[in-house]
Symmetry: C2
Subunit: 243 residues, 2 copies
DNA sequence: TCTATTGACTTGTATAAACAAGTTGACTAT
DNA sequence: ATAGTCAACTTGTTTATACAAGTCAATAGA
């Protein structure tokens, strides 16, 4: 029930990095020192460090130590998608005041074409939600989601205007675990021009993805159409050894 | 010296998933069964499974089993960036015949402006390489790289025309470990229009990133400008628990 | 028939320990 | 002085074990 032991350790080290206790290029204390500090084994420390590594904050170096490769200057974009975050969450993390406007809410049944686009099987009953995400007065994201009705029969427009993820997790007790994201640039469609403030541009950055719950059910297909100049996505990767 | 024990296991399971031995929705054998099959402990199995999970192929479910959430239909794009791959590597993985054309090769010194753009300190001596990546006869990527000269004094145009990564890893023995990537959509610049076949579009998908070697030295800043309709990037993420 | 409990599974977390392997600096022998 | 060796660090891999916790079906009891 309580949080795992590696989590507070992960958070504390992460805080120290983000707040500048360790600067870009610095080396963290060794794993052995950490085991003494936190009273746990190396495995637990290594788990916390592994998380921070996969976030692109740390670079462990065999035989030398663990180096900090995060610099605060580089990460000043509005939204950095490094995990599965809802719009409201990303906004509150960046302490922005934002508004959500629902511009479409309907029930649909997946046909062949929608099935190919979303990955839902044909015949599945879905909620189709269209929302505009506003930062201040500026609309910056046109969000189009399809939710599997059977997993959330009670979903309505009011919930959509607040936070669907909050509803799923808090009210329904659903656990969202994994998502696959796909990023592309696309020609603007009429809705983009109608809803977003593209100031003359005719293209958008599109992030689409499938989201799974803990039972392995894909319950959401989402497509966010972003005003290009306002977003960026950071992904970090670890190179595979050549074999 | 030999590859770690989890690696062949990872590869074999990965192969089984990609080749369809396990279909979308199937459950893998349990970790205990795998320990018998491979003659190792659960830890080693879990490591292999963890890699596949972070790639978005698997979804472990507490108390139930490990489910396959990869379906071959979804992932048919030309380039999926799930790790650090050079163009030639991605191309050969997709068994494409490709050509690289060097359209610019010069030595520059980082000024204030370039420093902000790339993250190299002002005054650093750099190689500035511009390359066109062709798939068949179609140019699809305009690649602009800045390499830290001190790490590879001998870099020349001929090497750039082949594979710089191959040169760094094989010839110089450098190990490339980590990169941070940033994706955005941008208005096409004259070079894009000149070099790429945008068939009327006026925007490109831009992937920029910093690359580190095993000593923690950032030795490359790269910016790839893609024809939008030909690429997509898949990232998978695991949602953090709300605490 | 229905409900509750148990028990046998599953994955998740954590400890402890050992050895492999890369790095670094000090020390030694030439 | 210089090159080589060694010892003391570092992170990386693997084993073995234990327990926690979620799932599910069979079983026992009402």
């Amino acid at each position: 029930m309580p949080s795992p032991k590696y989590e507070p350790i992960y958070k504390e080290i992460r805080n120290e990095i983000l707040s500048g206790v360790y600067a870009y290029g610095d080396y963290l204390p060794s794993e052995n020192e950490y085991t003494q500090k936190y009273g746990c084994t190396r495995n637990t420390i290594r788990r916390a460090i592994g998380l921070l590594t996969s976030e692109g904050l740390l670079l462990p170096q065999h035989g030398r130590g663990v180096q900090v490769i995060y610099s605060p200057d580089t990460g000043k974009s509005l939204f950095t998608v490094g995990g599965i975050e809802s719009f409201s969450e990303a906004a509150s993390r960046n302490s922005l005041r934002v508004k959500t406007r629902v511009v479409g809410f309907e029930e649909v049944t997946a046909d062949e074409q929608l099935s190919i686009k979303t990955g839902f099987d044909p015949g599945k009953e879905l909620f189709h939600v269209q929302r505009i995400r506003q930062f201040g007065n500026k609309p910056i994201i046109f969000d189009e989601n399809w939710f599997l009705k059977s997993e959330m029969p009670e979903l309505n427009e009011k919930i959509a205007a607040a936070s669907i993820y909050r509803y799923l997790e808090m009210e329904l007790g659903m656990t969202i675990t994994t998502s696959k994201r796909r990023v592309s640039a696309e020609q603007a469609i009429p809705e983009d021009i109608q809803y977003l403030d593209l100031h003359g541009l005719d293209f958008v950055l599109v992030v689409s993805g499938q989201v799974f719950n803990s039972r392995g059910v894909m319950f959401e297909f989402t497509q966010s159409r972003h005003v290009p100049d306002r977003v960026c996505f950071i992904e970090s990767a670890v190179r595979q050894k050549i074999s």
